[in-house]
Symmetry: C2
Subunit: 328 residues, 2 copies
């Protein structure tokens, strides 16, 4: 560090400020960077972390990165954290409470800078009160901010869209049990139907790896002469909506002309791919951005808050190939 200061012709304090990410004059910064390059100096992040007693790692705990929604969310989360100078440690919990707790304990041990979690276990007691945390989808405790999409409005929007597009016999499909945010989406959908005198039914597949077979049997039982008994379908998840769509096509049922389908998430399977399924879009990029901002606020503040904010982000309808085009 002394060598860098000498070569750069600046004080040791300026070097320290630069390395620790504190504000440095642009001219000083350029001199330091030139010196660092010349000397091939690598500041030791571990030594820095020990000195400041915090690292620049943020832990992201999600059920699995292997779904379009979570992979898109992880992508934007990592890039948002990167903009603040933080690295993202990805943890897949498979919604297993023991694994969630293990990851939280790891975060405590590693003195990470923060935790972002989408956890359905009761982790409030084991989170160190000194680590900033933001919850997604489900609150951890009133102490920590929550960022969530407007799931109720999303269910309403799906029903309204199907009504506008001429559907008369609506159907909600999912896999049992419907809980947490899924039940909020279901409630929004059904409340709109009830209020607007729309016929609405429910079909839930069994909670098994072969649940898709239940969808198939249901479709076959409710199809006569290529005519399916329902004309407007909503699911709380793109996965189920997409399964249902493919199964209807296999029965030669015309989607969207006789049956229309709307899913939930509208996450991008590929970054640039056109959305094939009509769906309620969660604002993935805004969720990531807001979450990182809420985390950074806690990092910057010296005083933990007793009552944290809940941020509800708006959803939108995303037109795909499974609903008719709206006539202007």
């Amino acid at each position: 560090m002394n060598d860098v200061a000498r070569v750069a012709g600046v004080s040791r304090g300026s070097i320290s400020n630069y390395i620790n990410g504190r504000r440095t004059k642009p001219a000083t910064q350029l001199k330091i960077e030139a010196a660092i390059e010349q000397l091939n100096y690598v500041p030791n992040a571990t030594a820095r972390a020990l000195k400041t007693n915090k690292s620049n790692y943020v832990v992201l705990i999600i059920p699995t990165v292997n779904t379009p929604f979570f992979s898109e969310l992880s992508y934007h989360m990592q890039l948002s954290l990167n903009q603040f100078g933080y690295k993202m440690i990805l943890c897949n919990s498979n919604s297993n409470p023991e694994d969630e707790i293990d990851y939280i304990q790891m975060a405590n041990m590693q003195k990470v800078a923060g935790i972002i979690t989408m956890s359905y276990s009761d982790i409030a007691d084991i989170v160190s009160p000194n680590i900033p945390l933001v919850a997604i989808e489900k609150p951890v405790s009133p102490q920590f901010p929550l960022v969530v999409s407007d799931n109720y409005a999303g269910g309403q929007l799906a029903a309204k869209q199907l009504q506008t597009l001429g559907a008369k016999k609506l159907l909600f499909i999912s896999k049992a049990p419907v809980k947490n945010i899924s039940s909020i989406r279901e409630k929004g959908f059904k409340d709109f139907c009830t209020k607007n005198n729309l016929s609405v039914s429910t079909f839930l597949a069994s909670d098994s790896p072969d649940f898709i077979n239940d969808f198939e049997a249901f479709i076959i039982n409710h199809t006569h002469n290529h005519d399916f008994a329902y004309d407007g379908i909503f699911s709380d998840a793109d996965e189920y909506a997409s399964d249902f769509w493919h199964l209807l096509m296999q029965q030669h049922i015309d989607v969207p002309n006789t049956v229309q389908i709307i899913g939930f998430d509208a996450a991008h399977v590929y970054k640039r791919q056109k959305i094939f399924l009509s769906s309620i879009r969660q604002p993935v990029e805004a969720i990531a951005k807001t979450t990182v901002e809420k985390l950074y606020e806690q990092m910057a503040s010296q005083h933990p808050v007793s009552q944290a904010t809940i941020t509800t982000l708006p959803v939108t309808f995303q037109q795909g190939f499974t609903t008719k085009k709206v006539r202007p």
Copy 2:
């Protein structure tokens, strides 16, 4: 640490061994864990990393986690690393050389335990020789192991499968430019066709965000009376194969009865979802497992090797809805 030793009734050295992950007698381990719990002692990973001069972080650099293949790979990679006691730092490079270099430099600075990278930039010179590294898909330098799927055999397998299923007019589709592993897949496919006197053509969409429009125009230009000019289609990527399938369906072309389609990757969009597209499956779990083993070998060895191994993993054909069922 002294308190833990006192409460557990073991030596300070045993505590140190336990914390540093060295072998400890099971009985001693139980005593230490009970004492740690009783005292609510959190070993400071940062202090440990400084002392041993290495952390337990492994950096994974991929173009983007937001594709089925990379999200499935990241999922298995994190769980495999976890089994060895390592945490995974996820880095999305968007195939941007500057970002790849930034992440490598970050890894050098943070003294990470290792790097796993799928990088198309020339990063060999900037990787610290002291950091274990494993390359996926494309070699970094002869010094570092490479783990790759058998892409050539995958292309051959697709052609053979289409031939067996009765296709006569084969078509390779992709997006320009076809390079790296994609061109190896293409070559395997075409070599099989040439050797077996099968007619084979190529259509490449332009390298633009709207490339799907090129697919659509090609399909419309080559369709007469719901009859598409080709009956066996292979793509080096599930993304393009899936786009093509949906576009053929929109033209009311019967897949798989008149046109059959095979993609590449067969990655799971959702962990438990049935595969709808017939495709050549990369052994994602084996890629993750092998990569982590090759990384761990380097970590455990004191001597860097001059010539590292290349591991080529076998691919398989995965039956979906876009090829006819093979008659036994």
